[in-house]
Symmetry: C2
Subunit: 582 residues, 2 copies
């Protein structure tokens, strides 16, 4: 398939399942690619910016753009700079002539005389772009090579003409593929976009270098999770999405599994309406006199009845199908057999109809048998530290890129989480600390038995401990039915890990392993239906002390990226009001 | 928490987040644990079998059981042997006295004189059990320690009394925890169960050593998948579960995304019924004369109307929500930005209402930009080989355990897949081979344009090539709308990997990157609705040649385990007729 490797100049190692090289292997080297000068490669990517300069010996006035200092690595940085220093704008407009939407229109005009095009391309493997040089001898198809187009080219790496960025650029000798992008229509032709605008185009937004970096970070967080649990002897299990077991997510405000058919439908319209229809139709069929002339009418009526009956079956069935809110209960059944298990899967939320709330999100859930609260806390702390260390080790460039414009301190927060052990205080101690504060007033006063507010959490983390805090042993009423009640009868073996910026990042608990205590608790909460029989079996037969925790992957992503909107850190965000059009 | 490590005898390395050791670290050592003799450990697990022998110097007649050669590693093997040699049964009954369901009843009786109990426990980390010795000095709670109970004990590893199995056993000095299991009720008290019976107890079945091994193998397959793609520079992305984009799964028989509310509901009953109800209720409210005496009636009627209107909104909305059948289309949008991506996630099927068909399954999907059909084939072949090599390297014991009773040849099939390169033939060549067969007749004759039957696939793999076969370039009508049409206009750039025993294990294709060809194809198939606009955008802006493939994780699990029923290889199987009661 590839003809690239046959040259006398040695080829850079190509991607195994394509003739191209991965740009990361050139751009993210310690020498910024310098050692690869002279190598022949095939490279592909999407064009992020284009500048033209007249070919040697041609009109100098057209060369102004080339004489201007090169735009920063990412055009968006320059745009960001302009936002802070608006007085630069008119100057920039004159010098660069292409900051606005109509800028690309000038590219579409036939060039006066032969030009050399400088293209910056990105293949998603790196937050840096490779400069690709197409000179006039290439009979440049100027009308089609715009921002947004995809190109696959063969050429030789050479010392960069503008050494401020990377050490090498690619001198093109052959164009292997062009996928055009009409600059008048391409929605990402401008150099910079808000994340909000990008959310309106979930299918194209990974082409933004920022979103590409976010996805790389998410991939790292996911893979590092698997690595941590594998290293520590956990077994990965896939938990079900469809379920009819309701999960007491919070003992005060039970959050049911998300019904596939919306709640109330069955009672309000569906099944009863159908049942009367079935009765009526059956009666009508019985009343039709049996004769040859009525044969077809009868057949049609019977077909119709059959269809209605099928619908009734379907509706009755659909009432039992729910989308899971947490895999926790099911995961316990595997922990109570295989001891140390975890899962990473999607969970669903139908309540809280806020635009920013995701209805679909991914969760890491962990359960350990023969483990008490402290074991789960230790595991959760190690896990978060492992994730952060992995981000520092493997996502440095992406973190830096996202930090640059979004949140300059977030890399520091990640490093700090790794280096200091988490503070551990009980819920009651947390309340005391907050109560004793004299130098400031909180908007809300919290009494024992109520949840700490975000304001209090932030105070504990930012002002008192200045690091992540584990708050444990909450009033049992604040937590779901399955948490283990402590000997005082008032508190439960639970914990929340609170981090700077995010608030509660991870929740854990020891589970109630005593059948009689669990039964009592479920009776108190009027949760004694048959649907929990299987869950109680885990206590009836070979009960074991077990503890676990769960982490919202999207919240971890906010911590990892410094961003603030959950919709920016998941590839296709689903919310109550929109999202599934894609 | 732990007091175990304080003895003078060095402790075996314990599990990091519990005081116990992982049994695998004792049982799966090359020396079968021999080198650990004398070590003090805390061990936990569920009791798989129990035998009593009189304590030293007591009634000899009760010692018969102990004199009998120990039951094979897994009690089920002995049971299996008995099935083949029924003449052994009466003898076994006399000697062992506990092969039947009532055997445990004898354990419940108070023992005559002090006894030493030999328990085999398993913590899910290994397919082997650890023998635990509780002697009479422990004031043994005989009534509660039965098969199915969970124990956590502290003791010292010593040379095994019956060295046929493992080299060490654990002499208990302290019982730290007992979770009882009433032997009269515990459904898994018998030594052996069919997988079919175990399926009726999805919450308890992981306690069967066979199912435990299956889960370990599944964990390995999942983690090895991540490892392969990470090693090769792919980015992991989470694709959406909720979607409204229908996926042409097969161009002849379109399989839509699975509707959340069952299909037809909207037309048949829901929305229209509600709309008339809303009209009627509004009319009635208008007709009520406004007076103080009617105030409450009106308020109630208005509340009722409001509720009905909300339901109508919910129903209308729920019609737009679907569960994904494949992440492929969405994955393309990430490949057309980040070049090499993959996802592992759940997919759903509502059609084909067969009991054995899963409605919820997990799929590995892969998409490569700048890659043509051959690249995807190479990647898929390498991927399958990597998975199989990982099974051989890391799941040897589990494979052996599952093989023992289920399918003795399956480990050989796994090794064979690693060692020989896959045969590659076009669909047309496959048809020619089948057509030329003289020495046997097939039930069905397949003409060009029809799918190969399972019988043909098996013939190609088992009789002709005797290894995995890639059949590629199928008639385009057999494949979904998005596959790339070849220059002949009749075939498409597609491939299926067919393996012994399983049939088609993996499917792949090059995607149609030419917008005009895609438009034409979608028009021909009457698929030109707006819902695909975003998908077409990927071709409109910076189109790139791209190819990919997908693997049903459950099918791979059948290949890996030698089992034949999909419901046995997924933790909580969901099928049309049942499953979500758990």
């Amino acid at each position: 398939m590839a003809s690239a490797g046959k040259s006398s100049v040695p080829a850079v190692e190509r991607f195994k399942y394509s003739q191209r090289v991965v740009l990361r292997s050139i751009l993210n080297r310690h020498d910024r690619g310098e050692g690869l000068s002279g190598h022949r490669v095939v490279a592909g990517g999407w064009i992020k910016s284009r500048k033209d300069r007249p070919a040697e010996g041609h009109d100098r006035s057209a060369a102004v753009a080339a004489a201007v200092p090169p735009q920063p690595e990412d055009a968006s940085c320059f745009e960001a700079l302009l936002q802070h220093l608006p007085m630069l704008r008119p100057l920039a407009r004159i010098l660069l002539g292409r900051l606005d939407a109509d800028a690309d229109a000038t590219e579409a005009k036939p060039n006066v005389g032969p030009v050399t095009a400088l293209l910056r391309i990105n293949d998603g493997s790196s937050s840096s772009n490779l400069q690709v040089v197409l000179d006039s001898s290439m009979s440049l198809p100027g009308q089609v090579i715009h921002v947004g187009a995809c190109i696959l080219v063969e050429g030789v790496l050479q010392k960069a003409s503008a050494p401020k960025g990377h050490a090498v650029e690619l001198k093109v000798e052959k164009i292997l593929h062009i996928g055009i992008a009409d600059s008048q229509q391409y929605p990402l032709a401008k150099p910079k976009f808000s994340l909000e605008f990008l959310r309106t185009l979930p299918h194209l937004r990974p082409r933004s270098v920022t979103v590409g970096s976010i996805v790389q970070i998410r991939s790292n967080v996911t893979l590092a999770s698997h690595e941590f649990f594998k290293k520590n002897g956990f077994i990965h299990v896939h938990m079900p999405i469809l379920s009819s077991t309701e999960t007491g997510y919070n003992s005060r405000d039970f959050q049911s599994t998300t019904p596939l058919a919306e709640p109330g439908l069955r009672e309000a319209i569906g099944l009863e309406t159908l049942k009367s229809a079935i009765m009526e139709k059956s009666k009508r069929i019985e009343e039709v006199p049996r004769s040859d002339s009525n044969k077809e009418t009868l057949l049609a009526a019977e077909q119709d009845l059959k269809k209605t009956k099928e619908l009734a079956v379907l509706l009755e069935k659909s009432q039992r199908d729910f989308l899971t809110v947490t895999a926790g209960l099911h995961l316990e059944s595997y922990a109570c057999a295989l001891s140390s298990v975890y899962t990473i899967g999607p969970v669903f939320r139908a309540d809280e109809p806020q635009a920013k709330r995701l209805t679909e999100m991914w969760m890491v859930e962990v359960e350990l048998a023969f483990a008490e609260l402290e074991d789960a806390m230790n595991c959760a702390e190690d896990y978060l530290k492992f994730l952060c260390q992995s981000l520092v080790d493997n996502s440095g460039d992406d973190l830096k890129y996202v930090s640059k414009t979004k949140d300059k301190e977030h890399t520091e927060r990640i490093r700090a989480l790794v280096s200091s052990s988490f503070a551990r205080i009980t819920y009651s101690q947390a309340l005391e600390i907050v109560d004793e504060v004299k130098d400031r007033t909180f908007r809300e006063k919290v009494s024992w038995g109520e949840s700490l507010s975000e304001e209090h959490e932030r105070y504990l983390v930012d002002d008192i401990f200045k690091k992540a805090v584990i708050v444990y042993e909450h009033p049992k009423e604040l937590k779901p039915f399955y948490v283990r009640v402590r000997d005082d009868g008032r508190t439960a073996s639970t914990f929340d890990i609170i981090t700077p910026k995010i608030g509660v990042l991870l929740r854990g608990s020891q589970k109630e392993e005593r059948l009689d205590v669990l039964n009592k608790r479920m009776e108190d909460l009027k949760l004694s239906s048959e649907q929990y029989d299987w869950y109680k079996d885990l206590r009836k037969y070979g009960s074991v002390k077990h503890s676990g925790f769960s982490l919202d992957l999207e919240k971890m992503m906010l911590f990892a990226t410094g961003l603030t909107d959950l919709r920016d850190v998941i590839p296709f965000p689903r919310t109550c009001d929109r999202g599934n059009e894609w």
